[in-house]
Amino acid sequence: MIAELGHLLAFLALASAASQSLLGFTTGGVALRRLSIATGVLTFAAFLCLIYAFVTLDFSVWAVAHYASSLQPIIYRVAAAWGNHEGSMLLWCLIMSGYGAAAAIFMRADVLRDRALGVQGLLTTASLVYLLFASSPFARLFPAPLDGGGLNPLLQDPTVALHPPMLYLGYVGMSFVFSIAAAGLINGKIDREWAKRTRPWVLVAWSALTIGIALGAIWAYYELGWGGWWFWDPVENASFMPWLVGAALIHSLIVTEKRGGMAAWTVFLAVLAFCLSMLGTFLVRSGVMTSVHAFAVDPKRGLILLAGLTIAGASALALYAWRAPKLMAGPEFDPVSREGALVLNNLFLSVGAALVLIGTVTPMFAQALNISISIGEPYFQLTFAPMMAVLLLFLPLAQQATWRRAEISPLVRRLWPAALIALVASVAAYFVVGKSIWIVPGVLVGLWVVLGVGTDFAKRVGPGGLGRVFRLPLSVWGMTLAHIGIGLFVIGATTETVARQERTFALGPGQSAHMFNWDFRFDGVSDGDGPNYYATRANISITHDGKTTIIHPEKRFYSVASTSTTEVSIRKTLEGDVYVALGDTLRDEPGVWRIRIAKHPLIDWVWGGALLIALGGFMSLASRIRRRERVTEAAAETPPAVATGDGGEPAGATA
């Protein structure tokens, strides 16, 4: 019953979305605002119905029967609602219509908002049509089974339960960026005002994407049992490409907003970000590649996705080709300037995104030509990493360069101590950590960014001291935190990659292993059962500095899915994680178990860096909201002049 209600609500949402796009391109107004909110609310209600079906285990619903089971804890039944193709498509629709509803609530009513809601309505309509006619999560199953298949055990984990919603908030959030770009192109006005109103949406989507990607990495790190967190797997690359383009977009929007420049390029990136999101979805869901994310592989769905991608991308590009030549160039600037530096940023980030794209799709195209190649970590480490390192070398300079034209010598005077310290420390790191010469560029670049950004921050605080620190604009805080986050990430990622150590021991009960001044005594295994799995738990006492603690790394066997997973034990230390995973018992000696002990130095810097990047994005967003209030107050004092400022003209009248 509830499933049918959900189905009905999704159809109502479809009708609402279709009317939303109709009104968006015609009269707009209050009715459009209400319809856009209605689309969001209806989709949300449909989504709640699906969650209800999963929580109450209505096995007559196909998706529930395949991805939920009575043994599953309730939180994972909720997560299972989006841990499958159909449910995740409903989540996609929910987030897409949710952005539309949010825009209807928060954006000032004018022709830009109306057209943006219209385009968003079109995208939502297309997504709902795909959902309802090609992958309905509400489809019934007859006869209904007594119990269901359950969520993939690897996904039964709190981090990865949150990973899809965050990732989609970013991925699908780019749809509204696309819509507002298309709306600006339709209106023929890509100006400072447009940039100012676009930026918050990019910041929300991109920061959420950052967190979503980081959650996926954290999950891979501790759940897959061997301690890697980024594999340059096509699926990861699929989310990384929109991230890179989004990062470029955030920076080029600054030029457009502050100076009115780079308008054509900025709007191109805004269109591109969502196209890459759709491309990623196509790659993951069409079955052209295999991965843990390719739940239900169906070539027909792949074709529909590809068609949607082509139509949306081609029409946006056509619109772009029509409008872009008429967009005005910004005021002139010298190459050595903030503008110049941001052009450089965009050059590197877009070439980086192109590199990741090439590395991801080449094996698929090669396969079509019967050439079988693989592209993985070594390729990206030798191409992408150095490219980004060069970009980051410019970061502290860019942050302090003045607009229009910059003098180099004051920058050098201010920044040489940071450069010197970074240089000395990176050489020192080589002697302390050793292992590989690659540690030097990593620490050099990372530390240079952290110290250079810190120098800039100190200069902005000025002689006023601590009192001024908290009076700095939130946008400065956002920039500073995000850039320090990048620096810490680079130091952490390089050190972890270069200096991770791992060893596998074969230990019988009572035997000890010794590694990096830690003692690990294996005291055999015991059984432990969870709600829907059997576990083999190792008892290992760790002694370090005279202190002993006991840890229990596990192997779990999920009977419904007949899959095993590992649950590692991690001890945090100042230097990094000590990571213990229980392997198999030796074939010929049943009491002896393989135990993998690893050290992942500075791994928390990787997570912390990513978190700071996202936090920086959210702080920049907060500065927008605060400023918007201030502008609104100012507008309230002098109402008539501002109110009719823009909008009003029919589409395409001004170019």
């Binding site: 400072r192 005002e193 100012k196 897959l224 049992g225 061997w226 890697g228 594999f231 797997d233 096509p234 907003e257 502050k258 100076r259 590649m289 295999t290 991965s291 843990v292 002139e332 600037f333 010298d334 190459p335 300037s337 052009v343 050059l347 877009s350 070439v351 192109a354 590199l355 090439i358 590395g359 080449t362 090669a366 050439i371 079988s372 190649i373 693989s374 592209i375 993985g376 970590e377 070594p378 390729y379 030798l382 191409t383 992408f384 490219m387 003045t402 607009w403 229009r404 034209r405 910059a406 003098e407 791992e502 060893r503 596998t504 021991f505 074969a506 392997g583 198999d584 393989r594 993998r596």
Partner: protein, 136 residues
Amino acid sequence: MIAALVMAIAVSGDLPLADPEKEARAQSLMREIRCVVCENEPVSQSTADIAVDMRRVIRQQVMEGDTNDEVRKYFSDRYGQFVLFRPPVTGLGLLLWVFPFLLLLGAGGAIAARLSRTRKKHLAPLADDQVDDSAR
């Protein structure tokens, strides 16, 4: 006694080599050689039986003093280029390696040419707050 000795010498799939340098080299090779039955996994992280075997072969060859390239060639001769996550530096592969840098140089060169033709020394620098003030 003899059994224990044999066990110590035989290379096991998952027990490390005695020489830490060789072990590190073996581990880095395991990260770039693909498990042939898995989905997108290097042998270093796979639990499949064949991955255990492949790890053993890699350790064996590294212990016997084979260079990284020799180990890579051993696997690509048997399983094709597919088995290496590091694409070859010949033919199509070479293009793959140089293309990103060509793109960077090409696009960067075009932009630089356009911007530097018109150096604008006469422009006065604008500080952040001046730009903010002029924003609407």
